[in-house]
Symmetry: C2
Subunit: 355 residues, 2 copies
């Protein structure tokens, strides 16, 4: 009986094989059992003799056999895969989030399909289609412009979806979001506390939820400090350095320049910073600068950037954990708000009156 042969013999059997076994049946033949038993042994079912199960597993292992996920999921109706849609994986915030998602996915035996949707609507459609065809068990959508037209498509899919920092208010049930209003208020308060009164805001594109909320926090802090809001101090970029630089130029052109600028994100702060430096002014001596995100690089800037830390990785993990709960059929609270943390570095300084 093959079962009683030594590992060495098993290897010999293997050596005779033209190629490594690709199905449970071949393992069954090697082990002298039915393929049902192999299946059971591999899945650690109690419905196999312990010893026999171990032998089977050893043989499978030595042969380097791997069960086909496709075949398995066809019958179990669980693919153990999830889809992650991002606008751009090259965005450092997104990359951090994906890293967190991947960590818990890997740990929990899930594989992740990554798809860049970019700004291309046709591509978004292809992405969703591919997720559907692969029968992903769930989806997380990150920092996306998901909205009006995208929502119904996703809803039709009948799989759990969690949104992370979604940029459009939508009727999706589950989302993980940074506490934008609170964090922005705190960041702006910090500037107020330093004596600034002319505080500008460089936002993202109008209409994005994060922008709206961060702007609201900024306004709230001004209001509670009794500082009247000056609309000329609120300008918009697009969340990237270039456009933020343009926005900064507008501020610099003002008769009454701001003494501090709160930026939608670190990338915007970077663009603003570049423009400030180019115009011969200095941060923080002439203008204080605050960002949002706390990208990996922000602490290494010169001066290191004061910013609101978003725990990107943890937010990703949290989104994935939530998704797994939904997949498991557990109901949960609708929205998860994650607090930001103000990190004070050297890009902000007390406002000194110029005589």
């Amino acid at each position: 009986m093959v079962l009683n042969k030594s590992p060495l013999t098993t290897c010999a059997v293997l050596a005779e094989m033209p190629t490594k076994p690709t199905s449970i049946k071949e393992i069954a033949k090697l082990a002298g059992v039915s393929h049902s038993s192999v299946s059971r042994a591999l899945r650690h079912s109690p419905l196999v003799n312990r010893e026999k199960a171990e032998q089977i597993r050893r043989i499978a292992d030595e042969c380097g056999y791997r069960p086909s996920a496709a075949a398995r999921s066809l019958v179990t109706r669980r693919s153990h895969t999830i889809g992650v849609v991002v606008t751009s994986i090259a965005d450092p915030f997104v990359a951090g989030v994906v890293s967190g998602i991947e960590d818990v996915a890997n740990e929990r035996g899930y594989s992740v399909f990554l798809a860049n949707s970019g700004v291309d609507a046709a591509r978004e459609v292809r992405v969703v289609r591919s997720f559907e065809e692969h029968r992903v068990d769930g989806i997380v959508v990150t920092a996306s412009r998901v909205g009006a037209l995208y929502v119904p498509v996703l809803e039709q899919m009948q799989v759990p979806i969690v949104l992370l920092n979604n940029q459009h208010p939508s009727q999706f049930a589950y989302s993980v979001m940074i506490a934008n209003v609170e964090a922005s208020r705190e960041a702006t308060r910090h500037l107020v506390a330093l004596g600034h009164r002319r505080i500008a805001y460089i936002g993202d594109r109008l209409g994005y939820q994060s922008d709206t909320e961060r702007f609201a926090g900024y306004r709230a802090a001004l209001e509670e400090a009794g500082v009247e809001f000056d609309p000329t101090l609120a300008v918009h970029g697009d969340g990237k350095p270039e456009a933020a630089g343009e926005a900064m130029s507008k501020l610099l052109a003002l008769a009454l320049q701001p003494t501090a600028v709160f930026c939608y994100n670190d990338l915007s702060a970077l663009g603003a910073f570049r423009r400030i430096a180019d115009s011969g002014l200095r941060v923080p001596e002439d203008i204080s600068l605050v960002g949002f995100d706390d990208l990996y690089l922000s602490r290494y800037l010169d001066p290191p950037l004061t910013t609101v830390r978003q725990p990107m990785r943890q937010m990703g993990s949290l989104a994935m954990t939530t998704l797994l709960r939904l997949i498991a059929g557990e109901g949960l609270a609708q929205d998860i708000k994650v607090p930001g943390e103000l990190i004070i570095r050297r890009s902000t300084a007390p406002h000194e009156e110029h005589p």
Copy 2:
């Protein structure tokens, strides 16, 4: 005959359905044909009546039917998926590469499994296993410590693999690499041309191929300029800002400080820069600084960083294109070398003799 009903009627039929069709058979029933014909119509086989095929497709479309990738790949033995292993997706270089991979994958109808292998060997094993189980058609490994122990596992998989900037020389057939030696030589020449003689090198960990090659390029440029190599000027970090900062401190502690530093990558340059600034010196007035990568952020630093641009995204695309060729069974050249491009910004300046 169902086929002749208007879309409206089809919708009505659909409306009666409890849930959207999940298999070809259900479409077949709706269309009044065999499921074989549905399969053919959906695959645009010429073996179906044109009109009938169109009707079938319309019905499938209206129902939001999506063929099961698992079922399909079970029979075709092609999963139309590829696996991408990265050490860390949060590394901006890696993110850029993945973006390029994803672009062409998406375009060509492939889905990508993304896996972070990190530095955890157990996790690497899990990643490879999951790729095997999903029967990926190919794999690209990015900027990884792939080597000694990892190689045999991957080779056993019998699928095409392309390595991108792999950090260990290995027997894998296909790789996409930046032309490290040439690019580093050019970068160092630039410093020499500016009059620098005491030029330091802050490397990655010893033993990584990229580091070895970049160091070689640096050495070559010194040699051709007749500058004797001073071993105290070659120090090692780990490719991240923190360790590079430590390395920079060693250089700063030297009796004869360098007047220029060539760094393994932009992240290292960032760490070195931070340390230089903290010690009261200035870039480039006191010390010129050159990086490698040209990360998105590098042009926004103050001063903007002189560096070697790696076309990360194109390298990713190239790797994916190569992989697709391999999957298609085409043979190709073994190694693809991509030239780097020296981008001169303001972190480098002529060396002025201090009187």
